[in-house]
């Protein structure tokens, strides 16, 4: 079985990605690395740079992932800055920002970058969601006020119940299929 590293400190993300790895002949190994995130308005660039830096350290096939939020009625805010915003915002702050907006939709942009000595590739998934009007569940401030896809649980509630908040099966399949070829 080929070993591939997933650079993440998030065990929930790792567990989810590992589910599909075996089917494709991969032994997915979680690795935490201290990588300085670049400041960029593009999630793609952040993921690419993160992968490049991690590969420079490990020199082994690896995967990194990143995600950003796009609130269409707020001109794409907060984009790749969600992780900073989540450090300071409360769930209520998100609700205050969209309180006067008719369009309560939000788009999760999920990016995975796979890299090896033979090259790298970006994989993207956009998942539509919507804000609800009060926070539910225990988790990140943004996760407590957003329903993704057709889910009736907020992202936080889904995680609390150990349910998948995002169906990213196809995305991971593509990642492993590409990784297998190189």
């Amino acid at each position: 079985m080929r070993k591939i590293f997933y650079i993440t400190g998030n065990s929930y993300k790792f567990k989810n990605a590992k589910k599909y790895a075996k089917k494709f002949g991969f032994d997915l190994v979680q690795k935490k690395l201290n990588i300085k995130e670049i400041q960029s308005g593009s999630i793609e660039n952040i993921a690419k740079e993160k992968a490049r830096q991690a590969f420079k350290i490990l020199n082994k096939p690896l995967i990194v992932s990143d995600s950003g939020w796009n609130i269409p009625s707020l001109k794409g805010f907060p984009g790749p800055y969600m992780q900073y915003i989540n450090q300071w915002f409360r769930s209520e702050d998100f609700l205050k920002l969209i309180k006067d907006k008719k369009d309560k939709s939000i788009i999760l942009e999920h990016i995975i970058c796979a890299i090896s000595s033979k090259g790298s590739k970006l994989f993207k998934q956009r998942i539509k969601g919507k804000f609800i009007n009060r926070s539910r569940g225990i988790g990140l401030p943004s996760d407590r006020v957003v329903l993704l896809g057709k889910s009736k649980n907020t992202i936080a509630e889904a995680q609390n119940k150990n349910k998948e908040s995002v169906d990213d099966t196809n995305l991971w399949k593509k990642v492993y299929q590409w990784s297998k070829r190189i």
Binding site: G41, K75, E92, K99, D100
Partner: protein, 181 residues
Amino acid sequence: MILIFGKKYINGQKEFNISTRRQETDKIVLCYFMGDITLQKAAIEDLPTLISIEESVANLKIYSAITSEDEWREELAKSTVYIIKKENVPVGDISYEMKNDSYAHLSGFAIIPQFQGQSIGREALTLVLEELKGVKRIDLVTHPYNTPAIMLYLSFGFSIESWKDNYFGDGEPRIVLAKTQ
């Protein structure tokens, strides 16, 4: 400069002085200082300095800079404007307008890019908030992508109030933050 009087304040872990100083020209200038950061009250003769500070951030879409003399004259007439100095070098400006006795609006706050990331803004804001102690509401607007500024304000107890599209008429949105005490 001669120190006329000084008073020590303790703010969290930091100790700073609030003093009135008399310059050698005998002109009385209100100054606040904290470590090597000084707030010097701006006057008409400081227009070139203020314009130069604002021009350093004028090309950023996340800040609505005041770069004309007329706008600054208006700002100086209605607001309290300070030049932020580090080791006596102008590095930024901060201003507020008293809307009434219990309500202040933080109308401008800029740090020259090469001096950003050195906690100068944090120290300047500490001094201004100390001056505004007792004012029931202090609010401000900032660009949603000015993440360091948003984090700074939230860390000082400001909270998000609302989102305003095209706030200054430049097509750019702003977030309203307010601190009530």
